[in-house]
């Protein structure tokens, strides 16, 4: 019964996806596509041009770490990108919750495959830092370095709506944690997990465009929860809601 259910579900999902993609493809007559602002869509900015966004990322904490306290933790999210060549661009991202922050810098290479389908490959390095000084509770700080090789596929669903699917590997390079004057360091290179992001970019109101989507990360460590000292050697699920205004 379970097998049958899985087969039916798989077939339905596959057919559904095929029809959705095909329908969008068939439904559009060949025409020129208007230039739109975007942050996630895998299309390089013109050389020398900047792209920016500001928004928030809400990360839902896994029950293994926060137990009965299941919350969606917001972080302020800034993105800035600059075109280097027709295909190559720099991408930087800063996320902060004030007591802990994360700065990423990466390089992306993007190319159109058709007039609607785009592809990019990227490599980002991020450094994160957290510090908590709370009387009788914390005298702790930690910082670390992670790297994220990624591939993004972008598809112009309609003239106003663009979908980006990004897959990333999460690799730990360095971790240092200190309580009081005692510190531990892990500097082994280890695959920490992977993540998939689904983002829609479109106009929202007036001339303001937005990025809205979700990121599903399965990882052994999440920098935002460093102060919970995850001891599990297994990937936990960190769903994220992403909302950003493209400036």
């Amino acid at each position: 019964m379970v097998i049958l259910r899985n087969i039916v579900a798989r077939i339905s999902q596959s057919v559904g996806l095929l029809v959705v993609v095909a329908s969008f493809a068939l439904g559009q007559s060949p025409e020129s596509w208007p230039l739109q602002p975007g942050i996630y869509f895998p299309q390089a900015p013109l050389p020398g041009k900047w792209r920016k966004s500001v928004g928030a990322v809400f990360t839902t904490t896994p029950p293994e770490l926060t137990e009965e306290v299941r919350v969606s933790v917001p972080a302020v999210d800034f993105n800035i990108q600059r075109g280097l060549t027709k295909h190559l661009f720099l991408a930087s991202r800063f996320q902060t919750q004030f007591v802990q922050s994360n700065l990423g810098l990466g390089l992306r290479w993007a190319t159109p495959l058709t007039n609607r389908l785009f592809l990019s490959a990227g490599y980002d390095v991020t450094g994160w830092l957290g510090a908590l000084q709370i009387k009788d509770v914390f005298a702790s700080e930690a910082y670390g370095v992670e790297t994220f090789p990624s591939i993004s596929m972008g598809y112009k669903l309609t003239r106003d709506l663009r979908l980006t699917v990004k897959s990333e590997a999460i690799i730990d390079l360095y971790y240092r944690s200190q309580v009081g004057n005692l510190a531990v360091v892990y500097n082994r290179r280890a695959i920490n997990g992977f993540a998939f992001t689904f983002i829609l970019e479109q106009p929202f109101y007036n001339q303001r465009h937005v990025s809205v989507g979700i990121r599903a990360a399965y990882s052994n460590f999440n920098w935002q929860l460093w102060s919970l000292y995850d001891t599990f050697d297994r990937n936990l699920f960190y769903p994220q809601l992403i909302f950003g205004f493209i400036l």
Partner: protein, 375 residues
């Protein structure tokens, strides 16, 4: 047979050292002997029972890594190395002989086909040290075979390396003290039954009829838990964590009742009341008579001193606080640290050698690093 052993075959899975320690479970007049093995990787413990087979002692059971879901069966035999030759252990060692425990282990449901060889190296660190298991033994999220704060995990605690346990005390709506950690009934801790909200909204009858912990056990009363500690285990320390707000006299009465029971049974058992908050401190201060009511204070040193507590227990995330720890110990206090699970920090805290005990969800890790420590 207890001691620190060198791991030869099996080192890639379990690390190059292992601690072997016997524990006991009493059931009426029967005593069951268990051999625990703690290794330095992935919070691993072995739960083995010894059975005489032919002319040898066979140790059978399972191994488990707490940090992930790795588990497998194991079958070991006790041997001795005599004049360089391996032979079955005859019951006593001649000078120059070495104990060897070897056999096979499996992975998940696979057959036992991996070699494991442990060779005696040195005795366990004899320094007194409290290894206290959080939530009566360990966290439900570590996929233990018994639920946290259950009678069953209290019976398992020694095999996980603990010499004492911390239990979480709350009151039902009709005033029965029970063991439960969280603020609400939730699916992290209990099997799905639709009931929501604080445990304190329900009577003991409602809870005992309709609510089961995640592995099927009942929520135990504090008395059932202490009865188990006194009658079934060799644990020597119980830390009653105050999760309730309100009068403490019922818990005090139970603490004193089971202290007397332990004394009558010839047990060296300390049952102390933990004060984690200012509300708990106020409840303690409101007690009419504080005689024979040992307390542990988790707040700062000045509050601890003002209460005349005999144990100070700061959070580990404040760091080693060496000056404060030494000062409190100089005044005759015992100092524990809680709730420390990160293996590298456990190793560092133990190697610094200042605290008198560690409260942890990973008592196998604390046991390993404590027993291998060389004075």
């Amino acid at each position: 047979m207890e001691g620190v052993y060198t791991v030869s075959n099996g080192a890639s899975q379990f690390g190059d050292q292992a601690v072997l320690k016997w524990t006991y479970l009493f059931t009426g007049t029967d005593t069951t002997h268990y051999l625990s093995i703690f290794t330095g990787t992935d919070a691993t413990y072995f739960n083995l029972e010894g059975t005489p087979e032919a002319d040898s002692l066979v140790l059978k059971g399972y191994w488990r890594k707490l940090v992930n879901a790795s588990i497998g069966e194991v079958r070991l035999i006790l041997r001795e190395k005599h004049n360089g030759k391996l032979q079955l252990f005859k019951g006593s060692l001649a000078p120059g002989d070495t104990l060897v425990v070897d056999g096979l282990y499996g992975d998940k449901s696979a057959a036992l086909n991996n070699q494991l060889t442990l060779t005696y190296n040195r005795p366990l660190n004899p320094k007194p040290f409290s290894i206290m298991a959080h939530r009566s033994g360990g966290r439900t999220s570590d996929l233990l075979p018994a639920s946290e704060n259950s009678v069953e995990i209290i019976k398992l605690a020694s095999r996980l390396g603990a010499t004492g346990i911390e239990v979480d005390v709350r009151f039902t709506k009709d005033g029965v003290p029970v063991l439960y950690h969280d603020n609400t009934l939730n699916l992290r801790l209990i099997q799905k039954n639709g009931l929501t909200g604080p445990l304190e909204d329900y009577t003991y009858q409602q809870l005992s009829t309709l609510v089961r912990l995640i592995n099927g056990e009942k929520i135990p009363t504090l008395e059932e838990a202490l009865e188990t500690v006194v009658n079934n285990t060799s644990l020597n320390f119980v830390w009653l964590d105050t999760k309730y707000i309100g009068p403490m006299d019922k818990v005090q009465a139970i603490q004193q009742k089971y202290r007397q029971k332990a004394l009558l049974a010839g047990r060296n058992l300390r049952i102390i009341i933990g004060l984690p908050t200012t509300e708990a401190v106020d409840s303690y201060k409101a007690l009419a008579n504080k005689d024979n009511t040992p307390i542990l204070c988790e707040l700062d040193t000045s509050i601890t001193r003002s209460l005349d507590a005999r144990i100070w227990a700061p959070r580990w995330t404040l760091g080693p606080q060496t000056d404060e720890v030494l000062a409190m110990q100089a005044e005759g206090l015992t100092v524990f640290v809680w709730t420390l699970d990160e293996p590298e920090f456990i190793r560092e805290f133990i190697s610094q050698n200042h605290f008198d005990g560690i409260l942890s969800n990973y008592s196998p890790v604390v046991a390993y690093y404590h027993y291998i420590e060389q004075q």
